[in-house]
């Protein structure tokens, strides 16, 4: 049976992970490759790297990192952050990224989805959408959640699918950072509407929140950052518990 995926997300800046990562036994907590390796060994199903650097050297350091990750990691990984052209995508895929996540660039230029998907197939195109509920409507924001757009979450997600996105990564800005759980109602609506997989993002604080995202939100995958980085939830423990709750999950008891 196809299993639900657990996806740690790593923010990287100038080739180093940020957001304060706190792990025992990691010599260099800022090295994305070492962190990625640990997650892969712990049973993460995929990884997402989000590049938030703004320097001119950005592209070079990101590509170097992607190459290192591809050399060392034996599970799939997605790269996102500031990817705005087919050439950007070429470089990242050629250096070993499995999927590309795009957000603001496809709001500005939706045909970028068509172009990348036609060239490489929809399996490598992740449309990332940040949205917030305003007057009961889910409004899409661009530029890291800073700029409101005219787009509605559900319409935009459907358009992205039609243009050739292979997955939707939906982050609820209302839930992100709260640790109060994912936006399960919106997730469930997205899942009814779309025929491509949906990744839940924003709000994970405990194991039950993952369970709810899968059972109530019908999400195909759940992404989280800080709770993994700070060791608040161990991936092994999370997956074991989800399996006990009858959620299809890839869990191998390593003890």
């Amino acid at each position: 049976m196809l299993t639900k995926r657990i996806i740690p997300c790593l923010d990287v800046k100038n080739g180093r992970t940020v957001k304060g990562i706190n792990f025992k036994g990691l010599r260099d907590a800022g090295d994305p490759v070492m962190l990625a390796k640990k997650y892969a060994e712990d049973g993460a199903d995929e990884l997402v790297f989000l590049d938030i650097s703004a320097t001119e050297e950005r592209r070079k350091t990101l590509i170097e990192m992607v190459l290192k990750v591809a050399e060392e990691i034996n599970i799939p990984f997605t790269v996102g952050g500031g990817i705005s052209s087919v050439e950007d995508v070429d470089m990242l895929l050629q250096n070993g990224a499995d999927k590309i996540s795009m957000n603001s660039s496809i709001i500005k230029n939706p045909t970028l989805i068509d172009k990348v998907s036609n060239k490489y197939g929809n399996q490598c195109v992740v449309a990332a959408i940040d949205a917030k509920q305003i007057n009961k409507k889910w409004q899409v924001f661009s530029s890291g959640g800073n700029i409101p757009t005219e787009l509605n979450l559900f319409d935009w997600a459907q358009e992205a699918e039609q243009r050739g996105a292979g997955e939707i990564l939906f982050t609820s800005m209302d839930h992100d950072g709260t640790k109060n759980g994912y936006a399960n109602e919106a997730l469930s609506e997205l899942n009814d509407l779309l025929t491509i997989p949906v990744i839940a993002s924003g709000g994970a604080g405990n194991i039950q929140h993952f369970s709810d995202a899968f059972k109530i939100g019908n999400a195909d995958a759940a992404l989280a950052a800080s709770i993994f980085h700070f060791g608040e939830i161990e991936i092994q423990t999370l997956k074991k518990e989800l399996q006990l709750q009858q959620i299809p999950i890839r869990y191998e008891n390593k003890l």
Binding site: M1, T3, R5, A70, I75, N122, Q123, T195, P197, D220
Partner: protein, 195 residues
């Protein structure tokens, strides 16, 4: 041992190369007919769309070469699908190595079939020490039907061929290069297969 990955321009083949390197196996990338013919093991990858991948194969005249190879050949994902008779993707004839057809998943399902799923009914040396219901990573919208050449089955609404074998030709639908330790075991088994 000389291991060659056929490089005909279809998608990301770096990850396959890296996966072999992690196992301590050196591989080279090539689209040269002689280079490929003289290899001990040939890897036939593929990511993207079937009809454009077939065009690329034809452009480099590899479509006529691959079916004549005598050493173990390993198709991965689209590579396996292109080794079949016919695929609904782009309504394309394949290399006609496997007598199997490739169809699109039903519209009632989430497509691509994306993520970790189990393989069962394992029937070849390719799966030596791999346990039934082991997880592998899949990403695909089209599937090879079950046939007498099926050597592994996966279920996604229907049951289909997760792997095929005919003579010296092997193919897997999943991505062993992205499937953790279990995937690495399959890559290793392919290299060690008796030819």
């Amino acid at each position: 041992m000389k291991v060659v990955i056929i490089d005909y321009g279809a998608g990301n083949i770096k990850s396959i190369q890296f996966a072999f390197n992690r196992l301590g196996i050196e591989v080279t990338l090539s689209n040269d007919r002689e280079d490929i013919s003289s290899a001990d093991r040939v890897i036939f990858p593929g990511v993207g769309e079937a009809s454009s991948a077939m065009k690329m194969l034809k452009n480099s005249q590899l479509d006529s070469l691959i079916p004549t190879l005598k050493q173990p050949v390993f198709g991965i994902c689209l590579g396996m699908q292109l080794m079949c008779q016919y695929t609904e993707e782009g309504k394309t004839n394949g290399l006609n190595i496997f007598e199997t057809n490739v169809k699109r998943f039903s519209n009632n399902l989430k497509v691509p079939h994306m993520g970790w799923n189990t393989i069962r009914n394992l029937k070849s040396d390719l799966f030596e020490t791999v346990q039934t219901n082991e997880y592998q990573y899949f990403v695909h919208s089209f599937y090879a039907e079950l046939s007498s050449e099926t050597i592994a089955i996966t279920d996604y609404d229907i049951s289909y061929s997760a792997a095929l074998k005919k003579d010296n030709f092997y193919g897997v639908q999943f991505h062993p290069e992205k499937s953790g330790a279990a995937g690495e075991q399959i890559l290793k088994n392919f290299i060690e297969i008796k030819s």
